[in-house]
Amino acid sequence: MSTPEIHDVLAEVMSVKRCRGGVYRAELVAPEIAAVAKPFQFVNIKVSPGNDPFLRRPFSLSRIEPDEGIIEITWAVVGKGTGIMATWEPGREVKILGPLGNGFSLEDKGLTGGFIAPLGGKAPELILVAGGTGLAPMYPLVMSARKSGFTVSLFYGGRSLESLMDTDRFEQSGCEVHISTEDGSAGFRGVVTGLFESRLRNLSASDIVVACGPRPMLQRLKSMCGQRNIRLYVSLEERMACGVGLCKGCAVKTSGNDPGYRHVCTDGPVFLADTVELGGE
């Protein structure tokens, strides 16, 4: 196994924007990280110098531009750290450790079970299911999936139209986008798993579902895909300190009789849903 390249860099904030869905997006100049980062890898950011907040914060990459040397992160303000980030001005420098985690690559046999796109047959499908800010890490995967010959569709849900992030970049990449809102203010009325249910019936064993969002959404998907033997990968979050495997903090229980734990930072953040306990089962 080759040693992953992890860089601890001082990155310049190039832009910070407030976007639809009440989220913020920042572009950071980090050529070392942008050059090697894979979809679903993440970075651990010291949002400000000093001891408050003290720990770094993990963020997935919502866009990776190796040629420009830029990575983009997307966040909602949920606490002190993300609040400080919302006040970042262009030109500021922040400490970033990354890329971290294994990422998710459709060419990686370890992750996709050696899946190879069949020649001449129906193009394999990649279905993305996202809830809320779980949409953020999906875009880099769309880019790499299209290069690998997958047809990609996105099922994306939120509470209301106002809570949804914009999906323009997905549509522009040729991704079929399906929207749900709990209040019916846009798209399907209901939760995203309800919207996805109709598509699930048409999936076959060669197709792959990748999901990121709240735990209840992931739990429901695990049960739905499990019943139909559809391969489901889930991107997990857990309270994290170091992001590199030093502290063993971000534990996720393994499923089955094995009483052990795996770690979001070094074993994930993407897991085959059957291998981990998502709770509610």
């Binding site: 003290f54 309270r239 170091c242 590199v244």
Partner: protein
């Protein structure tokens, strides 16, 4: 400035040690930092049998620090001896093995197992982990049981023996004296302080095992006070730790009486912290005309 220090017969090229619990067995650290900046490394608290650790959430940030309840997740002594230590030996940095037993008997067995390995520079007896139900801190809150745990290892292990103490006691000096009577060659302190955080939306404790150990800069004044007291109470060297982030913090601990210092939580935020401390100490020595770092040990009370 000469940074080398002598710790219970063990010579360290510099006084900065990786604290147990933030370094694993080095395999993850090498991806983000250079082990050779450490004067010594203390590996993850190792138990006789493998331990899966505690249910999540295991960490929670707090003002200027964090709570953790990892629960001594480790592969067990056998795997450490056969796989982890041989790999770690390639870096040529002294390895301190932190051991945690559930009984005196287990402490003795661990001492005897590690005495078979030529790759162990010192043992650190962990009588201070707040996150396990059996053993752990229980041995470190009472001088008598601390003496017995130390003595159990001492009978089986003839190399340098360190005992790591908890600050969650009334009189830490009396526990330190008991460890020395039991055969300790050095005392390391402090382990984490027991703490709690509540999730106000769930109306329940944040951590999966309710309480956790508080570490980071928030505990530095408590740690300094303990080092200041214990280094005057016992005739053996003290390894000081608790919230050290930079060379200034390290100097405070050394002046309070620590012969060496350990960095823990700081490594999680800044993996290259040993290098910055070592470079800072060298610069301080030049500016202040200090020839040997050991000349500063305990100057605050000497």
């Amino acid at each position: 400035m000469d940074l080398s220090v002598n710790l219970a017969g063990l010579t360290l090229k510099n006084p900065v040690i990786a604290a147990s619990g933030v370094f694993g067995y080095g395999e993850e650290y090498v991806k983000v930092g250079d082990i050779r900046w450490f004067g010594a490394v203390s590996v993850k608290g190792t138990t006789l049998n493998p331990r899966a650790g505690n249910p999540p959430p295991r960490t929670c940030e707090t003002p200027a620090g964090m709570l953790n309840s990892i629960g001594l997740e480790n592969p067990g002594a056998k795997v450490v001896i056969e796989e982890k230590l041989p790999w770690l030996a390639q870096f040529g940095v002294p390895v301190i093995v932190n051991i945690s037993g559930e009984s005196y008997e287990e402490f003795r067995t661990l001492g005897s197992m590690f005495s078979e390995s030529p790759l162990v520079s010192a043992l650190e007896v962990n009588v201070s982990c707040p996150n396990v139900r059996a053993g752990g801190m229980a041995f470190g809150v009472d001088p008598r049981s601390c003496y017995r745990a130390t003595y159990a290892v001492r009978r089986a292990w003839h190399g340098p023996l360190i005992v790591k103490l908890t600050p969650n006691v009334q009189d830490i000096s009396s526990v330190a004296r008991a460890a020395v009577e039991g055969g300790a060659d050095a005392i390391s302190l402090i382990n984490t302080l027991v703490g709690l955080a509540i999730d106000i939306k769930k109306r329940k404790p944040v951590l999966g095992s309710v309480t956790g150990g508080l570490s980071g800069p928030a505990i530095k004044p408590v740690a300094l006070r303990c080092v200041y007291e214990v280094s005057q109470a016992v005739p053996v060297p003290v390894i000081g730790m608790g919230g050290i982030l930079d060379y200034r913090d390290a100097l405070e601990f050394i002046m309070a009486g620590a012969t060496a210092v350990a960095v823990g939580t700081a490594v999680l935020v800044n993996p290259s912290v040993p290098r910055s401390i070592v470079e800072g100490l060298i610069k301080y020595g030049q500016e202040e005309g200090v020839e040997r770092i050991s000349d500063l040990v305990g100057v605050a009370w000497r």
